[in-house]
Amino acid sequence: MMNIAKTLGVFFGIWAVWVAWEFQHSIRSLTSAAEPLQRVASSLPAPQQLSLASPIPQPVRLPQRVDGSAMPSLPEIPVPARFAATAGEAAETFLNEKRAEWGVREYHELRPTTYESPMGTKVKYAAYQDGLPILGSEITLEVTQDRDVTLGENNYQAVKKVDVTQPILEFNQVLERAGRYQLDMSATSGVSKLLYLVPGSDEPELSYSMQVKENGNGPTENLIFRASDGQILGRQVPRAEFRR
């Protein structure tokens, strides 16, 4: 099996040399064919020397509207993802091509995080509105070393815009209502604001994420409370090294 592969490799190598040689030869033929033309062109006088109508070169003028204002510049032509310099750029180009198809709302900012491994790069875009993360609404793109981009997972939700100025409870009022939880600020600031999308709803809830201990004991958990009334919406627990 190895010998067959090596023999094939040698044949491929010889074929490649031949192709390269032919290619080089063709280029050289074209170059040599162009040489007489180049010589003729270089012997001609420069264009302005031939121009009788405008002997004095005019400054280049940008096109203008009737009112004198400058015309908008030409739109930037996007570079295809595969020509991008970095995996992040390739992902960004791909994302921009897909924004309309995926219905990405203009009030949603997609913030990237990049994950590198020898199997390729993943770029995860997390959706934010007015600086608040919409938990779980994200798009993961996978980028190969050749900058080919494919969709990994699309959990983006084109949900309604939330009024982040709506009246809400203070976080300590939320804790008072919940009763049995105490805030744990030992390793974090303890409280964050975010937008939480309840299944079956198309409008995220303005919420608090809090690190708490139940009745002051046990491991610290993360709870999500709806900020308007303190309703618990989600719970996340840490991983223990062993069960006791």
């Binding site: 040399v17 390269a20 020898p118 993360n222």
Partner: protein, 518 residues
């Protein structure tokens, strides 16, 4: 002259093609080019790729038992003192403190007075092993060396948030017993991630590099997998899932492979009942004549004690370690590094709520990409030997399933009445009436009604033998039930629709739909 240069270019091009064609077969299947010498140094913590501090840490690595090879070793015995070695520390913002831009190490909390924290004196972080400042220093070294090694392998740590490590997280005077916790903070995207160690005493976990490396292993599991949440159900409070077992297995594997020993927790186990001195918390090799197979740890029992994530993790590390040993047999000491590359590449392919079968598939895929599939037989063989069959008979008979929802009042008591604002737990009775065992049986809760908010949305119940049944809420604890919260704004007397899916690896999913009457 130009033509001569062109000819040389073409010849060079041709030679490259020929070489790649002839030699590509073997070079491409050895995996990517790695600096093995540097990687070995990073593993030992003898070298760091980042900025090395002028300060030194004096530590017994990984712990007194393994450093002295004495199961009776104590923190303050003379043999332990003689096992102290000095190590570099990397990326310190200030050579007298352990903080880096990413890592914040404290004892009880971020507000610790700086006067109690480890501070280098004459360029040395040197403390008695029982001194919590020693634990801080161990945390810094163990975590930094793990980052250095895995990043040099090509797996970037996600440092978008800081990591806060508390080496004795219990409150002053609180006796929690030993343990350690990792929190990736999926629900708090702007907060630091945390590692918290609990416990003091003669065998305090803070003295042991294994503890930090295991917890840091969880961090890398999330980093490497692109935060896919391959055990998101576990994050959401699941009692058991195969994803949780994978998480624990790889956290153990991280600690094991760095020190090159197939065990974790020899030190902390000294303070746990039922462990003889020197017996590890978990081992990646069999002890005595017992050969651990999947069937030993995968079947649901009648009480909910089995399956258990740590038991399945231990079984899984034995497969990982055996594959690692095959790489070592092929390639010597560097083979362990190639194996690590394979393991973490496989992790990078896992999606949300993965199973052991998904992991095996990912290992095969990673091996195919890195090593041309040269270890397909070895990987499949180790899973098969440990009782995890590749080809499974299909379960064709529908399982009998019944559901009993319970309301949970504000005192945590289960009741048959469900009110707005209550938690709801779904007790389920499942019987496998087929002649074939059902593998990896799970129940997933789905809601299409915004007033019923799933919290612990999935639970795993392990394998069900032919004829076997489980009853969550009667035999199995209700903590193993899927759960939700009823929105407090839901009107009384309203009806909320729910859907439970019963899933398994070797059979079609079943759907049970029902209505909760408030």
């Amino acid at each position: 002259m130009k033509r001569a240069i062109r000819k040389i270019e073409i010849l060079f091009f041709a030679a490259t093609l020929l070489l790649s064609a002839c030699g590509g077969d073997s070079a491409g299947c050895d995996g990517p080019a790695l600096d093995f010498s540097a990687l070995q140094q990073f593993k030992k913590g003898a070298k760091f790729p980042g900025q090395v501090s002028s300060s030194k840490a004096f530590l017994v690595v990984p712990n007194p038992i393994e450093a002295t090879k004495n199961n009776q070793a104590l923190a303050d015995s003379s043999t332990t003192q003689s096992a102290l070695s000095n190590f570099n520390l990397a990326d310190l913002l200030n050579p007298t403190r352990l903080d880096t831009s990413f890592l914040k190490i404290r004892q009880r909390g971020l507000n610790d007075s700086s006067s109690i924290l480890a501070t280098a004196s004459n360029g040395k972080f040197q403390y008695e092993l029982k001194d919590p400042r020693y634990w801080e220093t161990m945390a810094s070294f163990a975590i930094q060396s793990e980052i250095a090694y895995l990043e040099a392998l090509g797996f970037k740590a996600v440092k978008s948030r800081q990591l806060v490590v508390l080496v004795r997280a219990q409150s002053e005077g609180e006796d929690t017993g030993p343990n350690a916790f990792y929190d990736h903070g999926y629900f708090a995207p702007d907060q630091p991630r945390t590692i918290r160690l609990f416990g003091e005493g003669d065998f305090a976990p803070g003295m042991d590099a294994d503890m930090y490396r295991h917890e840091m292993g969880h961090f890398f599991n999330e980093s490497v997998s692109g935060e896919s949440g391959f055990d998101y159900a576990g994050d959401a409070g699941a009692y058991f899932t195969q994803g949780a077992a994978i998480h624990e297995a790889f956290a153990d594997y991280a600690a094991m492979t760095i020190k090159g020993q197939p065990n974790v927790g020899k030190w902390v186990a000294r303070s746990l009942e039922g462990f003889a001195p020197g017996q590890p918390l978990r081992s990646a090799v069999d002890s005595g004549s017992r050969y651990l197979v999947y069937q030993d740890i995968s079947y649901a029992d009648a009480q909910g004690a089995s399956p258990e994530r740590y038991a399945m993790a231990e079984w899984l590390t034995r497969i990982l370690w055996a594959v690692r040993q095959q790489f070592i047999a092929e390639r010597g000491e560097n083979g362990a590094i190639n194996a690590d590359l394979l393991m973490y590449s496989a992790l990078s392919l896992l999606k949300r709520d993965s199973s052991v079968a998904d992991l095996r598939g990912a290992m095969l895929k990673a091996d195919s990409k890195l090593y041309c599939g040269g270890h397909t037989k070895a990987i499949q063989g180790e899973f098969e030997k440990r009782g995890f069959a590749t080809e499974l008979a299909q379960v064709t008979e529908q399982m009998t399933v019944s559901v009993q929802p319970y309301g949970v009042d504000s005192n945590g008591n289960a009741t048959s009445t469900i009110r707005p604002g209550n938690d709801v737990l779904f007790g389920v009775q499942i019987q496998n009436v087929d002649r074939v065992a059902a593998r990896n049986v799970r129940v997933r809760l789905e809601s299409s009604d915004r007033r019923l908010i799933p919290t612990t949305y999935m639970q795993g119940y392990g394998d069900l033998a032919p004829g076997q049944s489980i009853n969550v809420g009667n035999g199995w604890p209700l903590s193993a039930a899927v759960g939700a919260t009823v929105d407090s704004t839901a009107p009384r007397s309203s009806q909320l629709k729910f859907r439970l899916r019963v899933l398994m690896d070797n059979g079609a999913a079943q759907t049970i739909e029902g209505t909760l009457q408030l």
